[in-house]
């Protein structure tokens, strides 16, 4: 069963003369162990797509299913619980809450659920992203790459299997960015599913599939062995 499925999703912002078709009949499936990159120019609908996948936004029509459950059928509270347990987000920057340590940031979804021994699970998650010994550091005591690794650890803590990453390397230098993507790839290889929004074709090369959006519609889908083609795509 796919982890994420979008069925003919439309998203229109605004109404009347000012209405904007952000997404126009998108259908997409992401299976366990699959990393899908979404590319496209600014305003093509990438971030809207990601927001719909995470239940932060609702489609105007169509369906978004995570682990077989339609997100539209869930209440606001249930959606929040769904994000705590099933979906992990990684943003471009300012991913972490500045007043919490790395371990506390990672453990936040568990803490919100009132899970005991969340600290132990957070330390394990940090260890998996090679941040042993960083548990008690605050975000502003870490580099950008370290912060993104903390965010990935948080995105996958507990039983989550879907990572939604919105340009996670955008604020990093190329070497650090590559480390982060390698980590994401390894997590996906271990069984997670991920959607990676990026502008950079070299980053998209880490994906199993690349979906190219333009004006809210999928205009091309490439496999992971075609990165050079992507690089030349206008």
């Amino acid at each position: 069963m796919s982890v994420l499925e979008l069925r003919d999703v439309h998203r229109i912002h605004g109404a009347g003369e000012t209405a904007v078709n952000a997404l126009n009949g998108i259908s997409l499936t992401v299976a366990p162990g699959e990393l899908v990159a979404v590319m496209g120019p600014s305003g093509s609908g990438k971030s809207t797509l990601l927001n719909l996948c995470g239940g932060l936004d609702s489609p105007t029509s169509g369906q978004v299913l995570v682990d077989g459950t339609s997100l539209q059928s869930l209440s606001r509270k249930q959606l929040a619980a769904w994000r705590r347990k099933r979906i992990g987000y990684v943003f471009q920057n300012l991913n972490l809450i500045a007043s919490l340590t790395a371990a506390e940031n990672v453990a936040l979804p568990l803490d919100l659920d009132g899970v005991r021994k969340s600290r132990r699970q957070a330390e394990i998650a940090l260890s998996e992203v090679d941040l042993d010994g960083y548990a008690d550091r605050f975000p502003d005591e870490m580099s950008g790459g370290q912060q993104q690794r903390v965010a990935i650890a948080r995105a996958l803590i507990g039983e989550r299997r879907l990572v939604l990453a919105d340009e996670p390397t955008g604020a990093l230098d190329s070497r650090t960015g590559e480390t982060v993507l390698r980590l994401l790839r390894s997590k996906v290889d271990a069984g997670a599913a991920a959607v990676l929004v990026t502008h950079d074709a070299r980053h998209a090369a880490w994906a199993d599939r690349v979906v190219f959006l333009r004006d809210g519609a999928v205009v091309d889908v490439s496999s992971r062995d075609q990165p050079e083609e992507l690089l030349s795509t206008p």
Partner: protein
């Protein structure tokens, strides 16, 4: 508890990460809590225990007894004051009879009285307490600070105030007005009257004192009541320690209706509202700056409830810190400033106590305030659009119509409840109405801001940005404006009421506050015919800021005063007046009088020249030159009035009293009146006053008696000037100055007004600072488009102007309207009474109004300009 642990952790860390803002929020809650803690401690320390109370009033004795009447008396258990129960007369009091009534007890005399003493400024009045301070039974009543107690009748001890006023020194002398000289052997203080001018001497040193006795026999209430049957009043230590139940007390003395706990709860509610608004404004800014953090929490699975909890946890943490800080600060200040507080209150603490239950309640109040302050920001944060927040956009702020409707409903309900409660004289109801109205106005403020922002297009850039910013950030601006508004409401309302009270009091006078009247003491007991010499007028002019001085006389009838006044013509006279009915009007007659225009204002009492208070009006005999001052005439009115006096007419200050060129002269309570030629001037003051010359009096067949030397002044004479005049005139005269009464309520209202004014300025400054902090990003943008550095100052100035100006405007309007409505409602309540009491004048106090409308915003703007750096900030990337 799901999520609370994380929320509290985030809140406490956030408090440390933003020390400036945290300190501000904590201070906003902690300072009022500290002030309330301080007040609670002072209240507890000055509320005497029965033992402490007894020590001050009866020393180490068991009771203090006095024998004021020959017949049975009744008294309150806590006072040594009694009133006769019947007109029955028993045997006259004597110490021997008292010993017989209280067998086996020691009787130690203590006396109270007064004496005129020579002061550095002239002659002043001093209280006298005569008791043997060496007697162990008197210990605790008076404390000897320096020197020793008096041991002979030529020695005295003085309070510090008496030392200061007389310039006496230890070992020096004090002279009374009648020339007796005493050696000052000590400095004393009365623990509950530190500011009194007091002379303490041995019993019998001064004449005309009231004698009481300290006794050594315990007196239960039953024994006190038994003594009352003989005319003896007793204040008993046993009774003070164990007050009798209401059923055993005299029903003539009902329990005093002190303000109950519900009033304290409501006042605390108002305080919490004010603190919540101030702190809520700061918290709203904090929540806005953490918008992305909170959106991140939502993105990782935080539900709206989780986000709410995180912001509410801010309130809990800030409230807890403020509770601790406020209570500690209050306790420390109360302990450290005890001598100053005792000096200000003019009484010693019973003991230094700390009122733990009140402090615990105040700590809880601080936490509740913190949570309440965080309530609106928490609610707004939990409803924010996560996607918009993550994208760093501000989103659209709309005022919700339901809040406006609710706000307007609350305002309407509050006004209605206020008017109803005022008519019913329900203080609790008035407070509830005030809270409802304030909350209603707070709810309306965001909509009003939105409305005002629409006018921005015509304004200059800084003001336009400030107004639009306030509108866009109305979650922060509205509480700040509301805080200024709430404080201004209080300040203006208090000021309107004080002004009205002051005018009401002044309106009862025939003259003006500050007028001086000098009486010859002999004339007060028995009217004399000897004129008051011109030297008295000279002394008045020399000692006080007098403008005019005139001798006034009274009509004399059969060697006594006539109590003359002018009655209206028969067709204009109120048929239900006491003068007409010769008895009190019945309820039906009072109802009729209320509907009769002839009865309007009839029966109101007025004060004449410091001596007479009467509802009938007053008549004085004076020279024509005095007419302008007496009737407060304009220059145009004077010639005709003076000529009328010279022509033998009686001049009255109410045209309604004149009919066909005649007025009706009434003497005392006689039913008949005598027509006399009259002249009416326009009515400048409500107190009816008639004037005739001595020649006219004699031509009408009356004699005249000496009354007073009356002087008008340019300002209120000081106490020293009054002392100097008394001294200059010698012991033969008494000097009276019409001064406003400074009641406890007025003092409390004045303090409240001052506090409200300070809060107003603090709220304005705070709100401006927060708005400036919130607008940093815009300043960076402005810099990028080439705005000059001075624009930052202009923008801050405009932000201050918008918040303080709008708050001041709303507060002034609401404060003045609510106070005037309250006074009007009280006046309407008088409509059912006849004779109708003096109505509360409905006047706007323009100085206070101008301050709240112009000065408060101006000061806030000036502060913003002074404390804003023109250097543009460097923003961190987001």
């Amino acid at each position: 508890m799901s999520g609370w642990r994380a929320a509290l952790r985030i809140a406490s860390r956030e408090a440390r990460r933003s020390p400036g803002r945290s300190a501000l929020v904590i201070a906003l809650i902690a300072v009022p809590v500290a002030a309330l803690s301080f007040t609670a401690i002072v209240h507890d320390s000055t509320t005497l225990t029965p033992h402490e109370d007894a020590a001050r009033r009866m020393g180490a004795a068991q009771a203090l007894v006095s024998w004021p009447y020959n017949g049975p008396v009744i008294q309150e258990p806590t006072r040594d004051f009694a009133i006769p129960a019947t007109s029955a007369e028993g045997e006259p009091p004597s110490e021997e009879r008292l010993r017989a009534l209280l067998p086996g007890t020691d009787l130690v005399p203590v006396e109270r009285g007064g004496v005129n003493i020579r002061t550095t400024a002239g002659v002043g009045r001093a209280g006298v307490r005569m008791l043997d301070l060496d007697n162990p039974l008197t210990h605790g009543m008076v404390t000897v600070l320096e020197g020793r107690p008096a041991t002979t009748k030529t020695e005295i001890t003085l309070s510090r105030k008496a030392m200061d006023r007389t310039g006496a020194t230890l070992g020096g002398t004090l002279t009374t007005e009648d020339g007796r000289t005493f050696t000052v052997v000590g400095v004393i203080e009365e623990p509950d009257r530190l500011d009194n001018t007091t002379v303490v001497a041995l019993p019998g040193t001064f004449d005309q004192a009231e004698r009481s006795w300290l006794i050594t026999t315990p007196l239960p209430w039953s024994k006190v009541k038994e003594l009352n049957k003989s005319g003896v009043a007793a204040l008993s230590r046993t009774v003070l320690a164990d007050l009798p139940p209401a059923s055993e007390r005299y029903p003539e003395f009902p329990d005093s209706s002190e303000l109950g706990a519900e009033v304290l709860v409501l006042v605390a509610g108002l305080a919490v509202l004010e603190m919540s608004l101030l702190a809520g404004s700061a918290m709203a800014v904090g929540a806005r700056r953490r918008k992305r953090d909170l959106a991140l929490v939502a993105a990782v699975g935080g539900s709206p409830a989780h986000v709410r909890r995180i912001v509410l946890a801010d309130g809990v943490v800030m409230g807890a810190l403020a509770a601790l800080g406020g209570v500690v600060l209050g306790v420390a200040t109360a302990a450290a400033t005890r001598p100053v507080v005792e000096w200000l209150l003019a009484e010693r603490f019973g003991a230094q106590r700390f009122f733990p239950s009140a402090l615990a309640a105040l700590a809880m109040l601080a936490i509740i305030t913190g949570v309440l302050a965080a309530l609106v920001p928490a609610w707004i944060s939990s409803r924010q659009d996560v996607v918009t927040a993550l994208a760093g956009r501000r989103g659209i702020t709309r005022s919700r119509r339901r809040w406006l409707v609710l706000g307007l409903t609350l305002v309407a309900t509050g006004v209605a409840a206020g008017v109803f409660s005022a008519v019913q004289m329900q203080f609790v109801g008035i407070l509830i109405a005030l809270i409802l109205t304030e909350v209603g106005l707070v709810l309306c403020t965001p909509s009003l801001l939105g409305l005002l922002a629409k006018t921005g297009r015509w304004l200059p850039v800084p003001l336009r940005i400030a107004l639009r910013d306030a509108s866009r950030n109305r979650t922060a601006a509205a509480p700040a404006i509301s805080a200024v508004m709430a404080a201004v409401i209080g300040a203006v309302a208090v000021s309107v009421i004080l002004t009205s009270q002051s005018q009401q009091e002044a309106g009862q006078l025939a003259g003006t506050m500050g007028d001086v009247s000098v009486f010859r003491l002999d004339d007060l007991s028995k009217p004399g015919t000897t004129p008051i010499p011109a030297s008295v007028a000279t002394a008045i002019r020399n000692a006080t800021p007098a403008t005019e001085a005139h001798e006034l006389k009274l009509l004399a009838c059969d060697g006594g005063q006539c109590f003359a006044h002018i009655r209206p013509p028969a067709d204009r006279e109120c048929p239900y007046a006491h003068d007409v009915l010769r008895r009190e009007p019945t309820e039906a007659e009072q109802n009729s009088a209320r509907a009769d225009t002839r009865c309007t204002g009839v029966g109101r009492t007025h004060r004449y020249f410091g001596t007479y208070t009467t509802p009938d009006g007053f008549l004085v005999v004076a020279r024509p030159e005095a007419i302008k001052s007496l009737l407060h005439l304009t220059d145009d009115d004077v010639p005709a009035a003076q000529q009328a006096l010279r022509d033998g007419k009686i001049v009255v200050n109410n045209p309604n009293l004149l009919s066909d060129g005649k007025v009706l002269l009434a003497i005392g309570l006689q039913a008949t009146t005598t027509p006399a030629p009259g002249h009416a001037t326009p009515q400048r003051r409500p107190a009816p006053l008639a004037v005739m010359t001595e020649e006219t009096a004699r031509s009408l067949g009356y004699g005249v008696s000496a009354f007073t030397m009356y002087a008008t002044t340019t300002r209120m004479p000081t106490e020293q000037e009054q002392d100097a005049l008394t001294a200059a005139l010698g012991g033969e005269y008494e000097v009276h100055v019409d001064r406003p009464t400074a009641s406890d309520v007025q003092q409390a209202l004045t303090i409240l007004g001052l506090v409200a004014g300070l809060i107003t300025l603090a709220a304005a400054a705070l709100a401006t600072g927060l708005a400036a902090a919130d607008g940093r990003k815009d300043l960076t943008t402005l810099a990028a488009v080439g705005a000059t550095p001075s624009l930052r100052k202009l923008l801050s100035l405009s932000q201050a102007g918008v918040i303080a100006g709008l708050g001041g405007l709303l507060g002034t309007a609401a404060g003045a309207a609510s106070a005037l409505a309250l006074l009007a409602a009280l006046n309407a309540g008088y409509a059912d009474l006849w004779p109708q009491p003096e109505l509360n004048p409905l006047t706007i106090p323009w100085p206070t109004t101008t301050i709240s409308l112009l000065v408060v915003p101006a000061v806030a703007m000036l502060g913003a300009a002074l404390f804003t750096r023109s250097r543009l900030p460097i923003e961190r990337r987001e």
